[in-house]
């Protein structure tokens, strides 16, 4: 299929070689332009990497998979969730540059991010609203998987990994909620930890683990901070890797309203 030429300005359009410079009939070939050299250089670098990593077959298999007929916008919810996570990771790293996880300093440092740091309000807002967006997207993605029957054989393990990711995402919400350390976040965390404590036998010990003691103590907030920015994101990133591997390995399912055809079940993704 021939694509239409992009509407480039005249200066950027490729020019055909002038007569006498086209390398034919003994005429000298045109000297490579700076653009030709740049393209050639880039191709050399890519070729060098590919020769040493052999990544092209992997990337071709991963990025140019065949997808079933009927693939639609609902199939983008998983990627959307992952990009929400990446956005949270990036904004979270920047917030960590100004935040102090100390019970006497946390509120002031969070307030300083909002009120004084350049663009702090925006980055904190992205992180705060991004968390809500991520949880909404996780549930929409889960609903899509459920209603399309995409959890069925052989994809059960991916459903299980997804449920673990859901729980970890909620744990991110719980541990992150304490960090602004205002009245609302403090009392919400007190209540959440006490709800944990209501579990029989292990509940009280789990609450002690979360608080690092019987009362909300000097290391509770740094404990939540470490869980929020190191332990749980690491687990989520690793499990997203496993989740994506299984998606690429097993492929996606056709929507349930599509009847199975005898031939041409798969179509090339354009």
């Amino acid at each position: 299929m021939k694509l239409p030429a992009p509407p480039l300005p005249r200066a950027l359009r490729p020019t055909p070689p002038r007569p006498g410079e086209n390398g034919r009939d003994g005429a000298p070939a045109a000297k490579p332009t700076a653009k030709d050299q740049a393209v050639e250089g880039a191709a050399t670098v890519v070729g060098w990497l590919d020769e040493r990593t052999g990544s092209t077959p992997f990337l071709r298999g991963f990025l140019y998979r065949k997808v079933p007929k009927g693939t639609n916008w609902f199939y983008t919810l998983g990627s959307a969730t992952m990009f929400a996570f990446l956005s949270q990771a990036v904004t979270g790293v920047f917030l960590a540059m100004y935040y102090e996880p100390d019970p006497t300093r946390a509120y002031e440092s969070a307030a300083r991010i909002t009120n004084e740091v350049f663009l702090g309000e925006l980055v904190r807002g992205m992180h705060r609203w991004g968390s809500t967006v991520m949880i909404i997207l996780v549930f929409l993605h889960m609903g899509r998987t459920f209603f399309f029957g995409a959890y069925k054989y052989p994809r059960e393990l991916n459903w299980v990994i997804g449920v673990v990711l859901l729980v970890l995402t909620l744990a991110m919400g719980l541990t992150g909620y304490l960090l602004p350390f205002d009245q609302r976040s403090f009392w919400a965390t007190v209540v959440a930890v006490n709800i944990n404590s209501s579990g029989p036998i292990v509940g009280p010990y789990l609450a002690d683990f979360l608080r690092a003691g019987a009362e909300f103590g000097p290391t509770t907030i740094s404990r939540f901070y470490a869980l929020h920015m190191l332990a749980i994101p690491g687990l989520i990133a690793a499990l997203i890797g496993a989740h994506l591997y299984l998606v690429a390995k097993l492929g996606t399912t056709a929507p349930p309203w599509l009847k199975a055809e005898k031939k041409d079940l798969l179509t090339e993704e354009v």
Binding site: F186, V190, I201, F216, G217
Partner: protein, 221 residues
């Protein structure tokens, strides 16, 4: 000249392959021993890092982090047995304001307060404001002589007993003592509906009947 003994080069056993030191009846092959040894060494190395790390994170669960601290809350004349007087005590001084909590004090009233066999009553009744549902702060309303919780509508009577809403046991109390005319408040303790003393439990932990065995006492308190 005798033929040299024939060996099976593909066998897993040293005796079959003619390796010096090989013997009949070998149960563990060399390869298996090396594999097992390498895995054991790896396991020991991982455990040497993982177990201390895990213990480091879990340590506070097994450690008493609330040392006894007697806090002066006023003279004996400041309190009577008719109504509660609020006082602020500091449970965790290291964390600043979040470590402070309000308690309500009144003198122990022999006629009104339930007595528990085998337990010496405290000279002053010191009621914790931590709701036993999920830990919101309750407030004493003098007009109705009740403690009310703003979060989920828990209602407690004058002695802290549950009169309505979701709480699972009466309000916690603190030990009290009188030293040279000054009233002092010490450790927290929990009570069941008969006002029997228990080691401090988290809100939401039942203490009556068979329920109490689902919520054991913890090393941290």
């Amino acid at each position: 000249m005798a033929d040299p003994p024939k060996f099976d080069k593909k066998s897993r056993y040293t005796a079959d392959r003619g390796i010096p030191g090989g013997f009949e009846g070998e149960t563990v092959t060399r390869r298996r021993l090396m594999e097992g040894g390498a895995q054991l060494a790896g396991g020991v190395a991982v455990a040497a890092i993982a177990l201390p790390g895990l213990g480091f994170a879990l340590g506070p669960v097994f450690e008493d982090t609330t040392p006894t601290r007697w806090q002066d809350v006023g003279t004996e004349d400041d309190f009577d047995d008719e109504s509660y007087v609020p006082r602020v005590i500091n449970l965790v001084p290291e964390v600043g304001d979040p470590g402070k909590t309000t308690v309500y004090l009144r003198r122990y009233d022999q006629r009104r307060d339930a007595s528990v066999e085998g337990q010496e009553p405290q000279p002053y009744v010191c009621i914790s404001t931590r709701c036993t549902h999920v830990g919101c702060p309750v407030r004493y309303i003098q007009a109705s002589q009740k403690f009310l919780c703003p979060c989920h509508g828990g209602v407690y009577g004058f002695e802290g007993q549950v009169e309505g809403g979701p709480p699972v046991r009466p309000l916690d109390r603190f030990y009290t003592r009188v030293t040279a005319g000054r009233v002092e408040v010490g450790d927290r303790f929990s009570v069941n509906s008969e006002f029997e003393r228990f080691s401090p439990r988290d809100p939401s932990n039942h203490l009556d009947g068979g329920w109490q065995y689902l919520y054991p006492s913890r090393p941290t308190t």
